[in-house]
Amino acid sequence: MTTLALAPAIDRVPRRARPVRELLAGTLFVVPATMLLLAIILAPLLCLLILSVTDYEIGAMQIRWLGLANFEKALSDPVFRRAMGNTLLYVALVLPGGVFIGLLVALLVHGRTRSRAFYEVAYFLPVTATLIAMAAVWQFLLHPKLGPVNGLLKAAGFPEMAFISEPSLLIPTLAAIGLWNLIGFNMILFLAGLTAIPRDLYDAAEIDGAGGPIDRFLTVTWPQLAPTTMFVAVTTSITAFKVFDTVAVLTRGRDGSEVLLYAIYLEGFQYFKIGYSAALTVIFLAFMLAFSVFQAFQLDRKVHY
């Protein structure tokens, strides 16, 4: 009945006017959300872009327009280039490690029935622990003389390893700590993915003759987890690109162990070169964006059926 009553009222509006009115109404509805989006996300980014082409320093009375000079300087700056290389190495270690160890742990924990809750909590604890606080613990654990890790190595007949002072070991050590921190989170994501796999598929695989653990994994688990794996890979690489706290606490960038975020922090908050640090941030963001978009588009085609 309502429709019948409304129909004449709508008809009274001239036919041509209706799209315009609808457009106007639609636009008005969209305005508040758009304003919020602009104010909260896009405005700060615009600020960043503007700062990145100036020589602004905290406390400076003047701002000069530099054009792309900051970017040119960054790309020829050996410290920044080293930071970039270190970050890429860190990501190259943490990304596959985080995905595959996380998956392995999830598969093992998923098979438990009564002890599952215990393992979930145990693996998730490092995620909740503050990395800065835990860095102190790692510093002790990895200490060349006092640390139990080196104690074990020596007991097993290996030479002493200077994990936090030998320059070539710095990034791998940081990556190991990063992994320790990250695995639990990835495990939870993979567990959620595993729970969502229909049991029927395993039954079907078993009837088809693919009942062994490896067959089951390759036929059902791995393809079914593909969307989860992609999500885990993207979030892991973003987390890895943003490595900062362990560097800030354990190495402070010494012996060439700077990473991108730490370099930005030094320029902006230690040397107060806001303009230059903004330019580095823009490079960092562009990098992350390109990486994520590449991952998403490349993998998306393969993981959604």
Partner: protein, 370 residues
């Protein structure tokens, strides 16, 4: 081609027993439907035949070979699942041919057989598609094709039609029946839908709470249900069941005093025995008002079902439905009916068992003679 023998099979999960000593012989080429409400253990029994569930006690033999310890793929069974269980990342052709690939058949041979099966199930045009690009009916066809390609000795169907809409369900039912006629493979079909069971089965096994209530051809189960449970489960609209007490060899009385006449020659009853009288809605006779022995039923409402009408009434205070051909005049107010004595089913109220001189065969009807 294979017969299946299920002997004293029990299944428990910890202390909870879900199947209590099942005995069933399924003949070579037979289409057997296991019918029962959810939780009656029918799917568990099917999965035990397939090898997806362990057997707690007893044994299952396929083609004379005990399969208790055999892997699913060694049992020669193919299974069609309720949710199709297709591999979403594989195309239709890969799904159908996967078992052959696992078995290590050469690619050319595989492709030839996939094409042949696709032709039988009518999927030739869809071989390159992924399951997500198919409709429900097409997916079910892929699942059937996947089962057929292994040329199994036994087909197992686990409620394969319950996810389809009503029209498609009827269509797929016919296709399954046609397929069975063509392949003549032993088939076990699990369902909770009695119409599916009646229309597909050579023989129906009705299960309830982990036990077989009755097994036999659809017609026999419908005409002579061995228990009250079978009587109420088979038939739509459901059989009327009226609690009553035997007051004489030829009469039972309901709580409010309504008396129903019984054929004294048919039933073995004792005076004072608590019974339930079963009458199928279509067996009730509508008579002229004032006819001898007629009950006047109070009409509550009528459901029009096109070819017939279902009249909801009360008899002796209990709900009572009458099925009437649509051609007859619509009943209003009071409906005079009689209950033909030979249409009455009588069940003991405590044991639920059918009361009759001639007791229908319970359990493994096909093998009763063996």
């Amino acid at each position: 081609m294979a017969d299946i023998a299920i002997r004293n099979v029990e299944k428990s999960y910890g202390k909870t027993a879900v199947l209590h000593g099942i005995n069933l012989e399924i003949a070579d080429g037979e289409f057997l439907v296991i019918l029962g409400p959810s939780g009656c253990g029918k799917s568990t029994l099917l999965r035990m035949i397939a090898g997806l569930e362990g057997i707690t006690r007893g044994e299952i033999a396929i083609a004379g070979r005990v399969v208790n310890t055999l892997e699913p793929r060694e049992r020669g069974c193919a299974m069609v699942f309720q949710n199709y269980a297709l591999y979403p990342h594989m195309t239709v052709a890969e799904n159908i041919g996967y078992a052959l690939k696992v078995a290590g058949l050469p690619k050319a041979e595989r492709e030839r057989r996939v094409a042949e099966i696709a032709r039988i199930v009518g999927l030739e045009a869809f071989l390159a598609r992924r399951p997500s690009e198919l409709s429900g009916g097409q997916r079910q066809r892929v699942a059937m094709g996947r089962a057929m390609i292994r040329e199994p000795k036994v087909f197992l169907f686990d409620e394969p039609l319950s996810n389809l809409d009503a029209k498609l369900r009827v269509q797929m039912r016919l296709e399954i029946r046609r397929l069975h006629q063509r392949l003549q493979a032993t088939s076990v079909f699990v369902t909770h839908d009695q119409i599916e069971a009646m229309s597909l089965a050579d023989r129906i096994v009705v299960m309830n709470q982990g036990r077989i209530e009755q097994a036999g051809p659809p017609r026999l189960l419908y005409a002579e249900p061995a228990t009250r449970f079978v009587a109420s489960f088979l038939g739509a609209p459901a059989m009327n069941l009226l609690p009553a007490t035997i007051v004489a060899k030829d009469r039972a009385r309901m709580a409010d005093g309504t008396e129903i006449a019984l054929d004294p020659g048919r039933f073995v009853v004792e005076i004072g025995q608590a019974v339930e009288i079963g009458i199928r809605p279509e067996d009730v006779m509508i008579v002229w008002p004032g006819s001898e022995g007629a009950h006047a039923l109070e009409v509550e409402f009528t459901e029009d079902m096109g070819s017939s009408r279902l009249i909801h009434t009360r008899l002796g205070g209990m709900e009572f439905t009458v099925l009437q051909p649509a051609a007859q005049i619509e009943a209003e107010g009071h409906l005079p009916i009689t209950i033909p004595e030979d249409a009455i089913h009588l069940f003991d109220r405590h044991s639920g068992k059918r009361l009759e001189r001639h007791i229908p065969v319970i359990g493994t009807a096909a093998s009763a003679a063996a």
